[in-house]
Subunit: 334 residues, 2 copies
DNA sequence: CTGACAGGAGTAATCGATTACAATACAAGA
DNA sequence: TCTTGTATTGTAATCGATTACTCCTGTCAG
């Protein structure tokens, strides 16, 4: 009934149909060396009438170029990483495929995926690591698939391979400073998991700002794990005593959890309590109350990452680059 | 300095190191036929000490299995599609890679990407088409890469290949009905682009509900394009006359645009005007006002899609299935 | 004791493209 | 006319794995 499973058209078929050798077909297709106009036309005609598509596996096997880059992030459904991926896509050529996988913040799953991805099917790997696989990553990079680290930068890999990360320290510093400038007397900080380099650096940034600009601020801390629920728990924790005048959540998910919990407790954000978030909150504009936040620009980061990848593909021996991108501070107001 | 570019370890190296033939190595690796325990051990030892990874291209070339599925959607940064992808990932084996691309709702770009993807690098293609490529899609499916259509189902392809779509008609019907039941006298409807099957079916569902349950309802329509901006324009359009008592946006982005515009004009959602949306709005809970919406469950749809893919991979000649999934109605209240 | 058969391992063909090298034709210069 | 060079095209090796076949060895029924 259907023609499924029919043998595919190969370069041989095209060659036979056009009455030339496979070498000539290949040359026409890749423009790798000159071919007489007449033959070019015959080949092109054969290609279209037969509906020929080159076999990517065969080409990859011979040329050692996969025309694909791998992207491994902790969570593909996180809009932050999606925007980064979108940014990478923006700058990559159309015939470059993106091989994606998500580790779900699980080092073991990440390790397995790294193994699959290192089977020579990608030309470059963009990686936001869940941690704990430094050795494997280093091996992949050394073995021949260049790695570009994004978002998270394990200490042992810094300056060993290319990286594109946010300036977590200074962005958090400025966020904290902008809240201190409002003259608050007390502050609740909701941290991420200290195993993540991002969380640690944001924490350091906050603390530095406090030490420098408000050493006598009453600070209370809660150690969450970057999830919405831990934001909620943080607020419950803070409300066991007098509520702080301001609250900072060091990622957007925790901010959402914290703010929704505060609202449930009857707080009016921006009036009863000042809120700050590392990362914007989607559709917060609808809500219309005030929020100070670090304006991450994942799409821009993605584009930058894409350029780093291209540079690395062009020259495997180019100097290692480490981009640390400063973010802007934003504020939504009623 | 670095060892980048070093020749990779191949199956030959493993064979030599273990003192066996490549055939034996392959048999050990794939368990395709029995091998004596002693040799198994020698081979496994060689594999680990040499750090051997099979070459995916070579394997794919020979076996015609890519161990990868392609996913082509109009917009990867749309959380709806991301959740679908996440769902697919949930059910696929770990060694299956996802090759992703996004067409940006552009038929031409989609066509190019379809060509790249059909170069034998995937075993199956999951596609939410931007439209206009029915013939190409049919060819790919017939040529040997089975296609599973999701979200959008072009008429000419229905029942030709597997599909997983929402029951747009009935979900929209019920959304409209639930608003009619509130006793409204006038309604503004914001449509998507009629070229998209989803938009058309949602429109039909709304209209059917009105015809059946409130034939005398004063209905006004605006034809948008599923973007946030067109939602804003729709509201501007409606407000040129008396505001309707209720408003339905037939996708979530237009709903966000419409609602934010209404708020800017001083409307209190749920009090001055009733709002309905096909698809939930992220973080709307924070906002806390009432909204009726069709609760899409993209992750569930993704899992279902994954199962359809697996079934198709197992048996290329299995009967074509068309899943039409009914969505739930949701409501957020103050 | 012999032929049949099965388990286990090796040899070499194969997948479909690219490309080094060889071969050919033709034109220009000696 | 002969040499040399240039422009095209073809031939066949190659990439790294899988697998059809072949071969050897030992077991067992007859």
């Amino acid at each position: 009934m259907t023609a499924r499973g029919r043998r595919n058209i190969t370069i041989k078929d095209v060659a036979r149909y056009a009455g030339v050798s496979t070498a000539t077909v290949s040359r026409v297709l890749n423009g790798s060396s000159p071919v007489k106009d007449e033959l070019v036309e015959r080949v092109q005609h054969a290609v279209t009438t037969l509906g020929y598509h080159p076999n990517a596996a065969a080409r990859t096997l011979k040329t050692r170029k996969a025309n694909a880059i791998g992207i491994l992030v902790p969570d593909i459904s996180n809009p932050y990483f999606m925007q980064i991926i979108k940014g990478i896509e923006d700058v990559m050529a159309l015939d470059f495929s993106l091989l994606m996988a998500s580790s779900d913040e699980d080092s073991n799953k990440e390790k397995k995926l790294l193994n699959v991805l290192s089977e020579d099917r990608i030309d470059c790997l963009v990686l936001a690591t869940a941690g704990g696989n430094d050795e494997v990553i280093r091996t992949i990079d050394e073995k021949g698939i260049p790695v570009v680290l994004i978002d998270r930068l394990p200490e042992s890999l810094a300056n060993v391979m290319d990286s594109v990360v946010e300036d977590n320290f200074w962005s958090a510093y400025e966020l904290a400073q902008s809240m201190i400038n409002l003259g608050i007397k007390s502050l609740g900080i909701i941290h991420g998991p200290m195993s993540a380099s991002t969380a640690y650096q944001r924490a350091s940034g906050c603390m530095a700002a406090i030490r420098q600009h408000a050493p006598r601020l009453a600070v209370r801390e809660y150690f969450g794990d970057f999830t919405l629920e831990s934001g909620e728990r943080a607020v419950e924790h803070f409300l066991q005593e007098d509520a702080p005048e301001a609250i900072i959540a060091l990622n957007n998910l925790m901010a959402v959890g914290a703010i929704s919990k505060l609202i449930k407790h009857g707080f009016v954000i921006g009036k009863d309590i000042v809120a700050g978030s590392y990362g914007a909150i989607e559709n917060y504009l609808l809500f219309g109350s005030s929020l100070r936040y670090v304006e991450q620009e994942p799409r821009t980061l993605g584009k930058l990452t894409g350029r780093v990848v291209q540079r690395r593909l062009e020259d495997r021996h180019a100097e290692v680059v480490s981009h640390v991108v400063k973010q802007q501070l934003g504020i939504t107001v009623k």
